[in-house]
């Protein structure tokens, strides 16, 4: 690092210049993504039910055990495609039957959701399963 040509101020300029340039480029890409998103996120199907369902999802901290589109915890199954894997009826019955109480097995708490909340949650999971995720997950098991 003793070169007289590559000085500290040169390094500093690369840092400031490079960071600003790439952050602006990131903003441009974000702008482009924002324009293209309506095609892949099918936001036209964001009903009141789906919005309320996302709220149920969040206020019960589902992501603390499950993953959703691969993000979250890895303790319990992926739920981004659970609607296609299991279907509406299974999801509702499953949630009402929890916890299993099977000794030594991972336990899911009983969240005491109302029928309306269950409908909303299923609507949210259905909407999520229809996002264009570039073909992820690799198979139905998530």
């Amino acid at each position: 690092m003793s070169s007289v040509y590559f000085t500290k101020s040169a390094a500093r300029n690369i840092f400031f210049g490079g960071s600003v340039f790439f952050f602006l480029l990131f903003l441009v890409l974000t702008f482009d993504t924002t324009r293209k998103l309506p095609k892949s996120d099918h936001r036209e199907n964001l009903t009141e039910e789906v919005v309320r369902g996302k709220h149920v999802w969040e206020t019960n901290n589902c992501v603390g055990c499950h993953s959703l589109l691969g993000e979250g915890a890895y303790f319990a199954p992926e739920l981004g495609n659970v609607y296609t894997r299991r279907g509406e009826a299974f999801i509702k019955v499953w949630m009402q039957a929890m916890p299993t109480g099977a000794p030594g097995r991972r336990q899911m708490p009983q969240f005491n959701l109302t029928d309306e909340q269950l409908d909303d949650l299923v609507a949210f999971l259905k909407w999520t399963s229809e996002i264009d995720t570039q073909g992820w997950p690799p198979n139905i098991e998530g």
Binding site: K8, R12, I14, S40, K54, C65, L69, G70
Partner: protein, 523 residues
Amino acid sequence: MQYQSQLVAKPYFIAAIGLFIAQILFGLIVGAQYVIGDFLFPEIPFNVARMVHTNLLVVWLLFGFMGAAYYLVPEESERELYSPRLAMITFWVFLVTGALTIIGYLAVPYATLAAMTGNDILPTMGREFLEQPLITKVGILLVVVSLLYNVTMTTLMGRKTSITIILLMGLWGLAFFWLFAFYNPANLVLDKYYWWWVIHLWVEGVWELIMAALLAFVLIKVTGVDREVIDKWMYIIIALALITGILGTGHHYYWIGTPGYWQWIGSIFSALEPIPFFVMTLFAFSMVNRRRRDHPNKIATLWALGTAVTAFLGAGVWGFMHTLAPVNYYTHGSQITAAHGHLAFYGAYVMVVLTIISYTMPIMRGRVANSPQAQLWETWSFWLMTVSMVVITLLLTGAGVMQVWLQRISETPMSFMATQDELATFYWLRLVGGVVFFIGLIIYVISFFIKGDVTLLSANNQEGSEKVGIPKADTFKEDIQPTIAEMKVEQDDVPVAQISTSKMEESPVPVETSTQEMPLKDK
């Protein structure tokens, strides 16, 4: 320590270590629940324990960063902190907010906590790592703004060094990107897109500035290498970090409903993300090899080297392992992610905070360094924690590879839960690794209470002057030029007082501005 107000860092560091212990205890609970599914159920369900584990990590690292800033900024600025009182008020606000939040997590169901804390007014909760109630999020913002005000004022009124500029940029960036924690659109894809502006642009963006600044500061102190040299390395590292890391955000935009071109952008730029970490490793070793004095605080130097190496492994190598889109297609959201997360957070951020604590705590307790006996305990804790974390990472990687194979690649894919049963051996061994880590942490804490022969700070032995320790014989080799301060030292035991210059930053001959110098015996 040159300024009395630097002492406000001490409670921050003590709180950080306290919360670190709690974090690891909850980590052990989570690790146990992976193999004994109903452990502590229903009292502490997995989602609660994990939330406490991750939130405590973030909070104690923030305590560490803040303590570091309150310590470092006065010393670099060569003046007292703008308001030590504000720093202490902020400390208590942060500690109480953090404690109440954790109690809230444990005491009531999450949905109740959300309802109690006004989540219906502005829903921000229930997203990974951003589980905090609205009031806690606001509290974190206020605490960071208070810190920014305090250290920015201190810097503006004092000497401005490259280290403080980068540290401040990192902290301002931390506050800025935190604002995205308050943005939670109903559209899940948009929600995820901007969620990463907090998570990724923190840990693979602005936090790296903080990390580089802290590492540079400690390396200047323990090696005595000229500041100009260290500053240049620091700028190269953070330039590489942001040039690769900002567009590297794209590696999170592969499968969440965003356009396909992110697979190219994310793969290319995040594949380059190991480079700054590799350079950081070269930097740390090169500075220590070229050290101009042997600082008595050996363990702080070890932590600094360990940070660079483990960050390179955890963030660099383990990040690269699953960052290319075709690989990530199979590994996304598997135990590979968990493996990377553990070693990256430990190597980069846990270790850099422990580095700064290791360097500053002895000074704040009136010594140049801890006794060799105490340093021996701390060295044991270094190796126990670091090796066990590497082992945990290897085990989770093994679990992840097997999981991907059984659940995603196989012709007859197994279900998630059936696959988990197959991974039990890995999880059991990981739990053992966690216990060893915890033992290492206990030894770390004990090291603070080991007495022994300590060198006390005195007027002639003023830590912070960048000149503590025994000068090395080959001080003036290569391009390292003697400083003006050193040239004026001509005989033993005569401290040179009050040499200062305002031309520090751009001076052709590096000039030290410290107030007291250790005499050089080999001149």
